[in-house]
């Protein structure tokens, strides 16, 4: 299959593409030679990758290729799974997050996460967003708390829809709204990085497009890493794309290049639908 066909299939909007050149690009996350094991099974092999600040990086690859596992190593969410082991180095702002003595709680404050299946707490809409602020004692008084909750809900493009029913259960929201609530919850504590694990995979097209608009918008303030099964989605929202296969990182390139002229034959085969 030839390159123009791929380009036609994954037309990348012209205004994005490479990250804005005017801004100085600093590296937010540096991963070097990362191996990951579930018990004896090795799930990731020698992953090395750099994520620049304030861009959207998408991870693509077939199911079971390790992209979600890799995402979860970035905020040490895999720690909660018994029998897992990590080798190698993950540095965020130059600090190794797997170094002994690392404050995992603080790490997770700085590296927020949105999950595949929306997981609002069994609390009111307001309390869901306030939870992170409360447990981290971020706000000094009720007024400040309410302000931050509103900002977070506005940031997740949800405020207009819920401002009159903040006291209602989070489960009263639709699926797409619940996922945006989870994004708002993550935004409330103002993380530096937001990890998203297939955030729109359970949503209908309209809710998905809202989430995608939101992701593009959030890039101004946050570094975003998103795992997605949907290659069109990767093409629409990301600046850089990384392709994983069988626990290995095959290729990282600017999204436009990835979907028009990938360096690797395997990437091209995957993107054009020959497997996966």
């Amino acid at each position: 299959m030839t390159t123009p066909t791929i380009a036609a299939k994954f037309a990348v909007p012209a205004q994005r593409g490479a990250p804005p050149a005017a801004k100085e690009i600093t590296t937010k996350i540096t991963v070097r030679d990362l191996d990951f094991y579930y018990g004896r099974a090795q799930a990731l092999q020698k992953i090395s990758l750099q994520v620049p600040e304030r861009i959207v990086m998408a991870f693509i690859g077939p199911s079971g290729c390790g992209k979600s596992t890799f995402l979860r190593t970035l905020n040490r969410m895999n720690d909660v799974i018994p029998g897992t082991r990590v080798d190698g180095e993950v540095k965020i702002d130059g600090r190794d997050i797997y170094a002994p003595g690392t404050d995992v709680v603080d790490l997770r404050r700085r590296v927020g996460m949105v999950f595949q299946k929306s997981n609002p707490f069994p609390k009111s809409i307001f309390e869901n967003v306030a939870y992170g602020l409360r447990i981290n004692r971020i706000t000094a008084n009720r007024q400040e708390l309410e302000g931050r909750v509103q900002q977070a809900l506005e940031g997740a493009a949800l405020w207009a829809e819920v401002k009159d029913r903040l006291k209602l259960s989070a489960f009263s929201l639709s699926g797409g709204q619940q996922q945006r609530l989870c994004i708002a919850r993550a935004l409330a504590i103002r993380p530096e990085v937001i990890l998203m694990d297939e955030p729109a995979s359970a949503l209908d097209p309209i809710a998905t497009s809202k989430i995608e608009e939101l992701i593009v918008d959030l890039k101004k303030q946050y570094t975003i890493v998103i795992v997605t099964h949907n290659m069109q989605q990767a093409a629409r929202v990301s600046d850089t794309t990384a392709f994983f296969l069988l626990g290995k990182l095959i290729e990282v390139n600017p999204t436009e290049k990835m979907f028009t002229a990938p360096d690797e034959k395997t990437t091209e085969d995957y993107i054009t639908g020959r497997f996966g």
């Binding site: 997770r108 996460m113 609002p120 069994p122 939870y131 992170g132």
Partner: protein, 263 residues
Amino acid sequence: MTTFTGACTALAISLLLIILLYIAWQGIGSLNLHFLLESPRPVGEGGGIGNAIVGSLVLLMLSSAFGMPIGIAVGIYLSEFGKGRLASLVRFVVDTLTGIPSIVTGVFVYAIIVVPFKHFSALAGGIALAMIMIPIVARTTEEMIKLVPQNLREGALALGAPQWRVTLGIVLPAAASGIATGVMLAVARVSGETAPLLFTAFGSRFFNYYLDQPIASLTVEIYNYAISPYDEWHAQAWAATLVLMSLILAINIVVRFFTRRKF
């Protein structure tokens, strides 16, 4: 198949209905305000079971005060923290504890509490009942907490919540209504216990407000009246049974009301 299972279901339900109706029919005659408020009198002079109602409530509160926190804590340990052989051992011990005949619990508490303190007491009764409650509460709590989806825990952890706050602030509330059901089952179970109280709380003919003194309870009162030779006391035993059943029902409704799903 449908007919057979349906018939068995009808049989099971009708058993309960027959028991309830029979108790109501037998008991309602002796039921009046005096009966509910007064303490027992000699045969032929009426009297009531007010002291036994108070005593039963005191015993239930005592046993819940000991049994609930310990049982819930064990359940949390088993589901959230317990890993490997120690947890299996604890689970086995808890299961075995569930199977211990309540009379044995009563005799045990008699030996370790009543004998050293030289008299029967409400406290000893409460402890005996708590020992019966703990394994029931622990296992239900464990099962209910295990039903809380893992992604809820991860969601809270991802916001920088330490483990203990996730357990107390997210997992426990999410499992609260289930845990309350377990606690209710345990309370209902121990409120019907007679054997462990015979050796511990013993029973009393008077209102008692001291925890180091013997205390009356509905079950022991029912037992004493039922084995007596007097028709009047038999009737009072039926009425006391009706009161006991209503009490359990009332506690059930109140707890369900307060722990119903709010969100």
